[in-house]
């Protein structure tokens, strides 16, 4: 596995998620990752032999289904408010196919 602690890898990850970090920020993230990694090591010491993985905090079923009704719709302006670029009411992103 790629060295998580390497700054280059973190920079690459950030770039893939479409943002860039300053060196200071990368130092901070790197430090946090090291702490996290140590915590994971701690968790790894727990013996999980024969224990089923669980997905929900409470393994309880529900019977609730939402009624098929239109309740909440955003206006077009609200829907596009977070978009960096728009065109003709669409969100414009760099070309995703060649």
């Amino acid at each position: 596995m790629t060295e998580i602690k390497s700054k280059e890898y973190l920079r690459h990850l950030a770039h893939q998620c479409m943002f860039d970090c300053s060196d200071d920020e990368l130092d901070e993230i790197q430090e946090e990752f090291m702490i996290l990694e140590k915590q994971m090591e701690l968790l790894n010491q727990v013996d999980t032999e024969g224990v089923e993985p669980m997905v929900y905090p409470f393994e309880m079923e529900t019977t609730f289904l939402r009624m098929d009704e239109v309740v909440n719709v955003l206006s077009e302006e609200e829907a596009l408010a977070n978009a960096a670029k728009t065109k003709n009411g669409h969100i414009l992103v760099p070309k995703v196919v060649r």
Binding site: R66, D68, V70, L74, E76, A79, I91, L92, V96
Partner: protein, 476 residues
């Protein structure tokens, strides 16, 4: 070399619901871009999915009609991939526990009837629609979150005709159920075909290719026919088939390579932690199942029983549900099922095409068409007159009124016909002579004369019969 062809089909079908699979924003087609979305569809932080009861109901209907076993506990999973049509970074689907498994549908081809097994039906959400331009990609999130079912067949089909019949049978069933619009050209029903070849008699499947972008049933058949030929040619020349995704190109009627599959993509499926398992109440499932609309095969049986129509006529009606529904209205007051059927599937359809009118916009009242057919049946109007009446009936006019206004009523009154016939015979002694000499043509001429005198209103069949009787009397 001869090959066995193995075909499996995956169909995505948008469900007829008011709201989306996991959000309360509207499902629509052709609305202003990004006008039918909310925070859940756009994956704003902190939003949570909430399962649509209407979508589950539609999925239960589809499973029931296609004989699948329904899992009463609904669970969802995440399919992780990173692409701009998917704002969450994952699609919520049912990977591990589909709502339905192990069903089938019967198809009919030139080789007879065949059962195609269905492996599973699962619910999921649709993605955003993208438009790829030179300066970038435009995204419309209206479609994002639209409820879908995916129907996965077993690899039971062996040629293009069977595959087309399978898609058509599914399309009809889902349409009759009201589960989906099933418009392939608009993308509310989408079809991916997996196809591979293996040497005849082999039990080891060949390498498969997936064909996408099949926007009509005839293209399903064309694409498969082309692909079989393409793969056979490569194998005949000693080449190997590479696993790939291809698309059908309408212009060249061929399949074009989109991308090679380098191993299986790892979607890192795991259970969706934001939706806890939902147990469907047994009584609710049963009430949906007990109230299914009539399915195509049930309608076929009913038309055979009630109207005694031919298989061909029934197929025309099954393929055109709206037309069939008008026919049923017509048959409430019409006496002759076959005659009414002929008017529906030839004249009405031709009229719609010629005048570019859609059935919902039709002004014709079914009871008026029924009246018209009854008039023909009773001999009140001739077939030729009916054509004239029909044109006005299609515009919403009442046939009694049309007949009245145009003076089309056919004369079937024997005493009136008798006097006309005698008048004509008295004027045409030569024709009587011709008839005596065995010239049957004379009868036709005389009928024509009577028609002329009656201004086209004489009942031709009756006139013919009575002229022959009168002639036989006179030549004795």
């Amino acid at each position: 070399m001869e090959y066995d062809v193995v075909i499996g089909i995956e169909i995505h079908c948008e469900l007829n619901t008011n709201s989306k699979m996991f959000s309360s924003s509207p499902t629509t087609f052709g609305k202003l871009a990004n006008s039918c979305v909310n925070e859940i569809d756009l994956a704003h932080p902190g939003t949570l999915p909430c399962v649509n009861k209407g979508a589950v109901e539609q999925a239960i209907k589809a499973c029931t009609a296609l004989h699948l076993e329904i899992d009463p506990v609904v669970k969802f999973d995440r399919k992780n991939y990173y692409y701009s049509d998917l704002p969450k970074g994952f699609q919520i689907t049912q990977q591990f526990f589909p709502i339905g498994k192990e069903g089938h549908i019967e198809i009919e081809t030139s080789l007879g009837k065949k059962k195609i097994r269905i492996n599973r039906i699962h619910m999921e959400e649709d993605t955003a629609k993208q438009f790829h331009l030179t300066e970038g990609t435009l995204i419309d999130f209206n479609r994002a979150g639209t409820p879908l079912i995916e129907i996965v067949s077993e690899p039971d089909m062996t040629n293009g005709e069977e595959a087309a019949a399978y898609v058509e049978a599914l399309r009809q069933t889902l349409y009759y159920l009201g589960v989906s619009d099933v418009k392939m050209e608009e993308g509310s029903m989408r079809c991916d075909v997996n196809i591979s070849l293996m040497p005849k008699g082999s039990t080891v499947y060949g390498v498969k290719n997936e064909i996408k972008n099949l926007n009509s049933i005839s293209n399903v058949q064309k694409a498969i026919d082309y692909e079989i030929e393409r793969q056979a040619k490569i194998l005949d020349e000693g080449g190997i088939i590479e696993q790939a995704t291809r698309r059908f190109d309408e212009a060249t009627k061929s399949t074009i390579l989109m991308r090679l599959k380098e191993g299986n993509v790892d979607y890192k499926f795991f259970p969706e932690p934001n939706i806890v398992p939902i147990r469907l109440e047994d009584a609710w499932i049963k009430s949906i199942q007990a109230n299914l609309p009539e399915l195509p095969e049930q309608r076929r049986a009913r038309y055979q029983r009630d109207y005694q129509l031919s298989a061909y006529d029934i197929n025309v009606f099954l393929a055109n549900k709206e037309l069939a529904e008008i026919y049923e209205e017509v048959m409430k007051t019409c006496k002759n099922a076959k005659l009414a059927c002929n008017w529906m599937i030839t004249d009405v359809l031709a009229w719609l095409g010629k005048n570019n009118v859609q059935i919902p916009d039709l002004k014709m009242k079914p009871e008026d068409l029924a009246t018209m057919v009854n008039m023909i049946e009773n001999g009140d109007i001739s077939g030729k007159q009916a054509k004239e009446v029909f044109e006005d009936v299609m515009l919403g006019k009442n046939p009694n009124q049309i007949v009245e206004e145009k003076g089309l009523k056919q004369v079937s009154d024997t005493s009136m016909l008798e006097s006309l016939i005698n008048e004509v015979l008295d004027e045409q002694p030569q024709s009587i002579e011709d008839y005596r000499n065995g010239k049957d043509r004379a009868v036709g001429f005389l009928v024509g004369q009577v028609m002329k005198k009656s201004k086209g209103q004489a009942n031709p069949a009756m006139t013919n019969k009575m002229i022959v009787e009168e002639l036989n009397k006179r030549i004795k």
